[in-house]
């Protein structure tokens, strides 16, 4: 009887994890679409698709949260399982925010398409940062699938790179605005895109922190990279 129950529980835990990753897949696709829209010509269906997916992402967030609550109520999970359940809620809300930022990027991209004030070459670095953000999110979700602390920690470095790219983009845009004030409104749109990208990097990092917490049982939300590496070494010794 008990083995049957624990088997059932295992399946429930796995389903929930798979659902989070399915939601992650949707968010990734959403982000990919938005970033691609930055370097595309007009695409009339873009905003429609983005809106439809956004609704699906929101629904998934609600569903997963409900599943988490039910598991806690019915199974009273302990140790690593409880940590997973608790952090999943956080991961899911980060994913939902990434979806929101992606939607913002898509809206700005639709405005930038066909805009003559700034050419694509002038916000190439923003597009590049968008691709970086995609990679960071992808890595973070891979780390979540594999519960791989090393991969999670690697996303920290990647997020730093995005922050650097954001500074660079901002400086460039200020340059364009000073050269030619007519570019100001367009440059501001690009700046909002860059800010969204920077936020996505932060959310991906939050997800990575959640993974470290799941695996090592330590809250590393405000720890520096060195501290985390130290904790990791200690946990490894203890095992």
């Amino acid at each position: 009887m008990t083995t049957h129950l624990s088997k059932q529980f295992e399946i429930e835990m796995e389903t929930i994890r798979s659902d989070v990753l399915a939601m992650g897949g949707l968010v990734e696709a959403q982000l990919a679409r938005s970033v691609a829209a930055l370097s595309e010509d007009e695409n009339p269906e873009l905003l429609e698709t983005i809106k439809k997916n956004e609704e699906e992402i929101n629904q998934m967030q609600i569903d997963i949260d409900q599943q988490c609550a039910q598991i806690i109520a019915r199974r009273q999970p302990a140790a690593v399982d409880l940590r997973i359940i608790l952090t999943i809620s956080k991961v899911v809300s980060d994913l939902e925010r990434v979806g929101d930022e992606a939607k913002k990027i898509a809206r700005k991209a639709a405005k930038l398409q066909g805009n003559e004030r700034l050419t694509r070459m002038q916000y190439y670095d923003t597009i590049r940062a968008g691709e970086l953000a995609q990679a960071v999110l992808h890595r973070a979700l891979n780390a979540f699938a594999r519960l791989d602390v090393d991969e999670a920690i690697a996303t920290y470095d990647a997020d730093d790179e995005i922050d650097l790219a954001f500074d660079l983009v901002m400086r460039q845009l200020v340059g364009f605005m000073m050269e030619d004030p007519r570019t100001i409104s367009t440059a501001l749109e690009v700046l909002f895109v860059a800010k969204s990208i920077e936020r996505i990097g932060d959310h991906a990092k939050n997800i990575a922190e959640a993974i470290v917490q799941i695996v090592m049982g330590k809250d590393v939300r405000h720890a520096s990279l060195e501290e985390i590496r130290g904790i990791k070494a200690k946990v490894a010794e203890g095992e």
């Binding site: 798979s18 990753l21 399915a22 990734e28 070459m121 990679a135 979700l141 699938a145 594999r146």
Partner: protein
């Protein structure tokens, strides 16, 4: 060596002991018989224990290769020899099986497709190296992980949810192929198919269709561009035609009518040019136009090109022709004439395209310089240098793409079709040559058509 049947020799020792005991009993009485019997049993026990010990030691040897069994005496010898033969057969059989498995593994690795085995819950059971590489999965880490956790493409999830039960040839789910565009990390576009496999599991087959998809996309883009390019002038013509139809002849001044016709003529001309270029390009591409290759002198061709260019520019530019010294030295009698072996018309139109571009993109008063020289490797280089507006570096790689334009408005205003450089590239490709572009914004550009050495020859004039 023929051995007696195993069971016959096991009785030899006990028989000897019984005979010896009887003899001892007859000769020395009961005690002697008992002593002989006891030592006989002790001897037999020691004999068996020794063999048993050897056999036991042997059982600890490696399973992988044939280790000969210990030799034995009497009944033991027979049993051990028989076991030895069995062991030899077993090892040979095992080696064969291993080879078969190895061969299957190599086969799976050599397959040009990716193969993934999923269990009933879509967890990864096995994947060949190609599939692992394409989908960025690592079998060691990811065995037992749901595939859609790692390849998080929403379409794949739905695809894997398809029910394959009763997947007979008629089942549509089993026939459906899924194309997943550019997998993250690897950028591959893959076509996936699935068939039922094992107990409720499935086998996924992945084919790399990256190239094919790119080609298909190119074709779609091309058709879209052609339609767009033709539609623009056509709209203008239709507009004027409607106006001419609706306005009574008496109400329209003669010069307005003439002006309309002129505008329509311009648009019709540009459509004509476009269609001509398209036909040229398609002929070049299909290779159907098997024109005669000939050997012709370069100098006369260049001189006529120079005149044409001068005429085209309506003397707004200075057009100069620069030839190498040996080609111009007439007095010393060492004059050399270079020749090209190829299709004269095609090369002439390619060179002309480069010159037309130079005229189009060089402001009034600029210089256009056409030159011909043989480089160190014997290749012929036809170069057009202008002092025009130049091209930014980021456009250079895409310049020979059809309908690629740095500046749409200017290109159309100057009557370009967007196909000129594509034609140049194709002509040169057909002559195993290449097009080199060097350009700086605001300074000008140099387009060089490079003709391979085998097609260039020198002749004393």
């Amino acid at each position: 060596m023929t051995l007696p049947p195993p069971h016959s020799r096991g009785w030899v020792l006990p028989s000897i002991i019984v005979v010896l005991t009887l003899i001892a009993g007859g000769l020395g009485g009961v005690w002697a018989a008992l002593i002989v019997l006891a030592s006989g049993f002790a001897g037999v026990t020691a004999f068996h224990l020794m063999h048993l010990y050897r056999l036991q030691r042997w059982t600890k040897s490696s399973l992988e290769q044939y280790v000969p069994l210990p030799e034995g005496v009497g009944g033991w010898g027979d049993v051990l020899a028989a076991l030895s033969r069995r062991e030899q057969k077993r090892v040979a059989f095992q080696a064969m099986q291993k080879q078969t498995i190895e061969q299957f593994r190599r086969m799976a690795e050599a397959l040009p497709s990716g193969v993934i085995v999923l269990d009933a819950r879509r967890h990864i059971e096995w994947a060949n190296p190609r599939a692992q590489q394409w989908l960025a999965i690592n079998l060691e880490k990811d065995r037992g992980q749901p595939l859609s956790n790692l390849v998080r493409i929403p379409e794949l999830r739905r695809f894997l949810a398809d029910d394959l039960n009763g997947a007979l040839p008629g089942n549509e789910a089993a026939q459906r192929a899924l194309v997943i565009p550019s997998v993250f990390d690897t950028g591959k576009t893959l076509a996936l198919q699935q068939v039922p496999f094992g107990q409720g599991g499935r086998l996924l087959l992945a084919r790399d269709v990256t190239q094919y998809e790119a080609a298909a996309r190119l074709r779609r883009d091309f058709i879209a561009s052609v339609s767009h390019e033709l539609k623009t002038p056509l709209t203008v013509i239709v507009g004027f035609l409607e106006m001419l139809e609706e306005t009574p002849a008496a109400e329209m001044p003669e010069e307005t009518r003439a002006h309309y016709f002129e505008l329509m003529r311009t648009q019709a001309n540009s459509m004509q040019r476009l269609v001509d270029d398209l036909l040229t390009l398609s002929a070049l591409e299909s290779g159907s136009r098997e024109k005669e290759e000939e050997t012709f002198a370069v100098k006369p061709l260049l001189e006529s090109l120079q005149q044409q260019t001068q005429a085209l520019s309506q003397d707004k530019h200075t057009v100069t022709l620069i030839l190498s010294e040996e080609e111009t030295q007439t007095e010393t009698g060492t004059q050399v004439e270079t020749q090209i072996h190829g299709v004269r018309d095609e090369l002439a139109s390619a060179f002309n395209n480069l010159l037309t571009n130079a005229v189009r993109y060089t402001p009034e008063g600029g210089n256009i310089e056409l030159s011909w020289k043989i480089d160190g490797e014997g290749r012929g280089i036809f170069a057009v240098r202008d002092t025009g507006i130049g091209i930014a570096a980021e456009h250079l790689p895409r310049l020979t793409e059809r309908f690629y334009r740095v500046d749409r408005g200017r290109s159309r205003a100057s009557g370009g079709t967007g196909l000129g450089l594509a034609i140049v590239k194709h002509v040169l490709l057909r002559h195993q040559g290449e097009l080199a572009i060097d350009s700086r914004v605001g300074k000008g550009s140099t387009f060089s058509a490079i003709i391979p050495a085998v097609r260039v020859s020198r002749q004393k004039a």
